[in-house]
């Protein structure tokens, strides 16, 4: 690798032990990738040092130290020794976490785990990390500019960052983002480089794609057929607002490994089809028509059998403020018959509180929670056997993680299920 002077200095230890260990990990990682150099980054989102009680106890038992600094150095930096952890560089944000600090007991968490999370947060805040606690940092103030080099975790945020914003990030992991927070460096590989960002496959969308549910299904289809490849979409793509991009990208990054997509005339690096493809011909052209749309719908609902719904979960990825407005309108002052949990960021919840949406959802019998979701927390209301979801991503993950049946549909289908206790969703 070709190292810059400041990188060599950190590796030599002149920036202190933690930075040295962070650089060592980044060099191991960059070498594995085959990267030749690093890029500088000031925009980093991760989950630095946040530990479950399992991790804390593991290091207490195996290293005699379960403190924040021990977890950060032994686990995040894979350093082999405990170091003190200096302040983070740049704009560093903490993504989603394990629980809502107000409704933790509803999530089945212990007070011990809650207190531990509070301590982790205090450690991070002391080091300059923004406690955003969301999978949607781009909705609550972390909005890079086009071309900016970032080091982001969270596959749904990564695909949004590359595709919708036109900033540059790979799908980083916990360890690489934690190391980047101390060093401001990340391997110059993949999506940091122009030649990697061009579309490889053409997707011709023939089935009308308008609602958020439509966009989730299209994303899920594209993830399955694309794997790691980069699609460019043409055709019947309408109303591609941030909310639809959020659900589309999250789905494509779950069923497959899509980290970037282009939409001709919509996304910043796709003014024309030719620009999106970098002047090359697509490897293949793939059609998304009515039969494909039906197949996706059926795949997402393959696991649903019992139409009696116990639990409706909304907010994957974390709900935006307009989704709160929609849910409050759909509830329309009625009481629900199932559990309803809606997950969001702390910042959006603050606005939902002030706008009266939280109160309307709670008056109906629902609960608004921040920081986490059912899949991350592995938590559903007690006794839940059947779940209704409006997120293709959550439908992909949740049944396997908490052993429930899941139905996928629109937000309207989900609220109808909450109000009646029955699933009546269908492909319209």
């Amino acid at each position: 690798m070709i190292l810059a002077d400041d990188e060599k200095a950190m590796l030599d230890g002149s920036g202190g032990l933690a930075k040295q260990k962070a650089m060592e990990l980044l060099v191991r990682y960059a070498t594995a990738l085959g990267a030749e150099r690093f890029v500088d980054t000031k925009n980093i989102t991760g989950v630095p040092g946040s530990s479950t009680l399992f991790l804390q106890k593991y290091f207490e038992e195996h290293a005699g130290d379960g403190s924040f600094e021990a977890v950060f150095s032994l686990y995040d930096l894979d350093a082999g020794q405990v170091t003190s952890v200096p302040p983070a560089t740049g704009n560093c944000c903490h993504l989603q976490g394990g629980m809502d600090l107000q409704h933790w007991s509803d999530l089945g968490m212990s007070s011990e785990a809650m207190l531990h999370q509070r301590e982790d947060e205090a450690e991070l805040a002391r080091r300059g990390v923004r406690i955003m606690k969301t999978c949607t940092p781009y909705l609550v103030g972390n909005l890079p500019v086009k071309g900016e080099h970032c080091a982001w975790m969270e596959s749904s945020a990564v695909v949004y960052c590359n595709s919708v914003i036109g900033a540059r990030t790979n799908t980083e992991g916990r360890e690489s983002t934690s190391a980047a927070m101390l060093t401001g460096k990340i391997p110059d590989w993949g999506f940091h480089r122009d030649e990697y960002r061009y579309a490889t496959h053409l997707i011709e969308v023939e089935a009308p794609t308008e609602s958020v549910m439509d966009w989730g299904m299209l994303g899920y289809f594209i993830g399955e057929v694309m794997g790691q490849n980069i699609p460019v979409l043409t055709g019947a793509i309408q109303q591609a607002d941030p909310l639809r991009h959020k659900h589309f990208g999250a789905a494509a990054a779950s069923s497959g490994g899509v980290e970037m997509y282009h939409m001709v005339g919509v996304t910043p690096e796709a003014a024309t089809l030719d620009l999106a493809l970098g002047g090359r011909k697509p490897v293949a052209a793939i059609k998304y028509g009515a039969p494909e749309r039906r197949r996706v719908y059926e795949a997402l609902n393959a696991n649903g059998r019992d139409s009696n719904i116990d639990y409706v979960m909304l907010g994957c990825p974390h709900a935006s403020i307009e989704q709160f407005r929609d849910v409050a309108r759909l509830l329309d002052g009625n009481k629900i018959k199932t559990h309803l949990w809606m997950f969001t960021s702390r910042a959006v919840k603050a606005v939902a509180d002030l706008s009266g949406f939280t109160r309307q959802i709670e008056d109906a019998g629902g609960l608004v929670m921040t920081d986490t979701c059912s899949a991350i927390a592995r938590a559903v209301p007690k006794g839940t056997k059947v779940v209704a979801l409006d997120s293709a991503k959550q439908t992909h993950y949740l049944p396997a993680m908490v052993d429930v049946e899941a139905w996928f549909g629109s937000t309207e289908d989900c609220i109808h299920a909450a109000l009646t206790g029955r699933w009546t969703g269908e492909l319209r």
């Binding site: 799908t171 992991g173 690489s176 049944p399």
Partner: protein, 135 residues
């Protein structure tokens, strides 16, 4: 014995029985880090554990928690003995590095065609060499 040559991305040597899949693997949400079992509902390895096996697979997909999930298998002693894969991604590069098991990619023959589940496989991550003994 069949010998494949490629690029080692994590050093060290290990040998054992192969577990082969043609489907990419999700880390977070796709495996149980406590047991090394694939839990993704529609995955062809659903219910099978890679613990103490040489995992041969196309690559990683899904959540950015991939490295974290595999890193955890190292702590729970449920990690694969070694990894052999085709598609380089940041998920798998970081995941292999922190799992600290020998890992090889860019092989001169497709390991998914050459290696079958149950074959005895020796992985040299320092030299980037894979030796396959058919069962």
């Amino acid at each position: 014995m069949i010998v494949l040559h490629g690029r080692g991305i994590v050093g060290g040597c290990a040998e054992g029985e192969a577990l082969v899949t043609r489907e990419t693997i999700s880390g977070w949400g796709g495996i149980d880090p406590m047991t090394g079992t694939v839990i993704e509902t529609r995955h062809e390895l659903h219910g099978q554990s890679f613990k103490d096996k040489v995992l041969v697979f196309p690559g990683a997909k899904g959540s950015s928690g991939w490295s974290n999930a595999f890193h955890m298998t190292r702590l729970t002693k449920s990690a694969p003995l070694a990894m052999i894969f085709n598609q380089m991604t940041t998920k798998i590069a970081l995941g292999a590095v922190v799992t600290r098991v020998p890992a090889v990619t860019e092989l001169d023959q497709d390991p998914l065609s050459v290696i079958e589940t149950g074959d005895w496989v020796k992985v040299d991550g320092d030299r980037g060499v894979v030796e396959v003994t058919k069962r």
